[in-house]
């Protein structure tokens, strides 16, 4: 990772120096090596605390909505911004362009490689706490803690979403940092395996599963605010006139409603980037709701990957004569 960071910083400085861009959304080091914050760097900034390591999981595409907005009346015209896209981030980037939420002309996209991002909570779940330092060393990760040093396999720290990696190919970029990045050796799992497990449950079991998960929700809106598909100017749940605005789950119904409505709203546009589950403070597996929709749409309308390109209409916004009729719900086990 250290070599890639160096390569990356050199490339960024080159693009800033030659005027291709005037700023870059990068990652800023924190106190503990895993608490990396997205931050904007310009030519005059020091890059000493610019970081690129396994904890740069945050998908930065959504920041481009704000960054590529036309300047206000008294604001100066901004130049291009450099965004660093991991392969999976590039799907969200495409999707946001498709939805006219990003001005493509104001972005220079540099594809950066990823061999799976890391999740510090996996260490904590292993009982490793008091983490002072983490160093990636090939297949191993060395962890320095208040309670002694540990070494764990890198593959055991991979974010769950990266276990279902879409691959090392970027679907959008202006330039690739490493033009022929090799496919990383991933310990992949079928991304629909967990959805299938839920489908095989009885309705009652499934309800219990979702109640036990959704009842933990504190309505912090982290899932919504991080979601690249949730880009409404005013969310229905923030709109006092909508009749459903709510800051808190007053009852069971509201806990379910918020997440299910959100899943419906992003259906066909969700790229399965997994940010919702990554940021949930309660570790609710929210991505499973989205994956259920993706799986159903694939089965009903044919395979579709949101964000694959910037033009193809999504299955729910396109109409074809072979589209499933509403009655299909009965043949799929729905009650009449």
């Amino acid at each position: 990772m250290r070599e890639i960071r160096e390569l990356l910083v050199n490339k960024i400085k080159e693009l800033l120096d030659n005027g291709t861009v005037d700023r870059v959304i990068g990652w800023k080091a924190g106190e503990f090596c895993y608490d990396v914050t997205p931050a904007i760097f310009t030519k005059d900034d020091s890059f000493d605390d610019f970081l690129f390591n396994g904890f740069c999981g945050a998908n930065q595409s959504k920041y481009l909505i704000e960054e590529t907005k036309a300047p206000g009346r008294d604001e100066p015209e901004k130049g291009k911004i450099l965004v660093l896209l991991k392969p999976c981030d590039s799907y969200s980037f495409n999707q946001l362009i498709k939805e006219h939420r990003i001005d493509r002309e104001k972005v220079y996209a540099l594809g950066v490689p990823s061999k799976g991002m890391l999740d510090v909570n996996k260490l904590r779940n292993m009982g490793i706490n008091g983490i002072l330092g983490i160093e990636e060393d090939g297949d191993m990760v060395k962890v320095k803690t208040l309670y002694g040093d540990k070494e764990v396999a890198r593959k055991d720290l991979i974010l769950d979403r990266c276990r279902c990696c879409k691959g090392s190919k970027h679907v959008a970029y202006d330039e690739l940092l490493i033009p022929e990045a090799e496919e990383w050796e991933k310990d992949t799992t079928d991304r629909f395996a967990e959805v299938e497990k839920l489908e095989q449950m009885s309705a009652e079991e499934r309800f219990d599963f979702w109640r036990s998960q959704l009842s933990k929700c504190i309505r912090c809106n982290a899932c919504r605010n991080v979601c690249p598909a949730c880009s409404c100017r005013t969310c229905v749940f923030d709109n006092a006139n909508s009749g459903v605005a709510a800051k808190v789950n007053a009852d069971d119904f509201e806990e379910n409603m918020f997440h299910i409505i959100r899943a419906w709203h992003v259906a066909g546009r969700c790229t399965d980037c997994g940010e919702c589950s990554r940021v949930c403070p309660q570790n609710i597996p929210l991505h499973l709701l989205n994956r259920k929709f993706i799986k159903d749409m694939n089965e009903l309308y044919g395979d579709f990957q949101a964000g694959d390109d910037t033009e193809t209409k999504g299955p729910l916004t396109a109409f074809t004569k072979t589209d499933a009729e509403p009655s299909i719900v009965y043949s799929r086990g729905g009650d009449k």
Binding site: F32, V36, T37, A39, N221, V226, K247, V248
Partner: protein, 340 residues
């Protein structure tokens, strides 16, 4: 001091639950929060931080405040009963325990919040000392002693034994109720644990954070700092930090039209939200920069100015581990400090 083997701890829970509602850190759906005790509950006294703090016990996420019955032009106000039954919150860590006295400064000062006051009067706090702090802990920066938390009863867990010491009248009364399960003992094991934990606390990385500059700092200098611009940019404007915070205290009041009356309720609010303090005239904080600044100015400047220098933070570190983009109060303190 008394003790009870952790093998028998369930009996202690049951004994307390027989006469009081009992809240404990309980694991549900893979996460630990303070929930009412029930048999078969997976009690996790070993977990340092519940996702949300223990403040729910006194300031629930949502509560009804009053009801209005409407008949033609007649409006009848119906009071909501205040909590009047004793309850016990068991397993509160030193950081959360201190947060109660911070909340008291807001809710028990004139005009007293009677909903909160009733819960504070009825609540008995059984605190648990820390022996394995996390790297994200910085309660020591606020003169909190994690080895000797504030509470009606303080407990220490060492080598499969829970040590118990009553600290207040409420605590003594609770001790008497469960006395048959407790055995008198000396403080040797607890003293050893305290010494060992203090050594770890001295090595915590956030010890080095400079907070001196904030003591008596000029409010407007902090407010006008150019550093906010760089700090707020990545903030998603979600409410995670506010909702996991033990000292965040703001709420919103809403009226719900039931068709034949109104239920007035309040719920936690977050200054990170766009509609925070939105009023008819509309001019609340319009940008995320202002909203972000508000949260930290409140904790680091406005609150201490109004409360004899006490910060509105207890150093639990929840915001450090939970913020989706890893922005948090320690980064703010360090960055603003760079001004000096």
């Amino acid at each position: 001091m008394y003790k009870i083997s952790m093998d028998q701890i369930d009996q202690l829970y049951k004994a307390i639950a027989e006469f009081d509602a009992l809240y404990l850190p309980i694991e549900k759906g893979g996460e630990v929060e303070f929930y009412p005790y029930e048999e078969d509950a997976k009690v996790r006294l070993d977990v340092l931080h519940t996702v949300k703090s223990a403040k729910d016990a006194f300031l629930p996420t949502t509560e009804n405040m009053m009801k209005f019955k409407v008949e033609g032009k007649k409006i009848e106000v119906e009071e909501v009963d205040r909590v009047n039954q004793e309850f016990v919150v068991f397993g509160v860590r030193a950081c959360d325990a201190r947060s109660f006295s911070i909340l008291d400064k807001v809710y028990l000062s004139d005009p007293v919040d009677t909903y909160y006051e009733a819960r504070r009067k009825c609540g008995v706090i059984v605190a648990t000392a820390c022996s394995r702090p996390e790297e994200t802990c910085f309660c020591m920066k606020f003169d909190i002693d994690a080895t000797e938390p504030e509470g009606d009863v303080v407990t220490w867990i060492e080598d499969g034994v829970l040590y118990w010491e009553a600290k207040t009248e409420k605590g003594t009364a609770l001790t008497e109720k469960v006395a048959s399960l407790l055995e008198e003992c000396d403080t040797a094991a607890v003293d050893r644990q305290k010494a060992a934990t203090k050594e770890i606390i001295d090595r915590l990385p956030l010890n080095s954070m400079d907070m001196e500059y904030l003591k008596g700092a000029d409010m407007m200098t902090l407010f006008k700092s150019e550093k906010w611009e760089g700090l707020y940019k990545s903030c998603l404007g979600c409410g995670t930090c506010t909702f996991v915070c033990p000292t965040c205290q703001c709420y919103d009041i809403r009226d719900f039209d039931t068709g034949h009356g109104i239920v007035r309720s309040r719920c936690w609010d977050s200054c990170m939200y766009r509609d925070f303090t939105m009023m008819a005239h509309g001019t609340n904080r319009k940008t995320q920069l202002e909203r972000f600044r508000q949260r930290f100015m409140h904790k680091l400047s406005y609150f201490p100015i109004n409360n004899d220098g006490e910060f509105g933070c207890v150093g639990c570190g929840r915001c450090i581990s939970k913020c989706p983009i890893s922005m948090n109060i320690t980064k703010v303190i360090k960055t603003l400090g760079g001004d000096n």
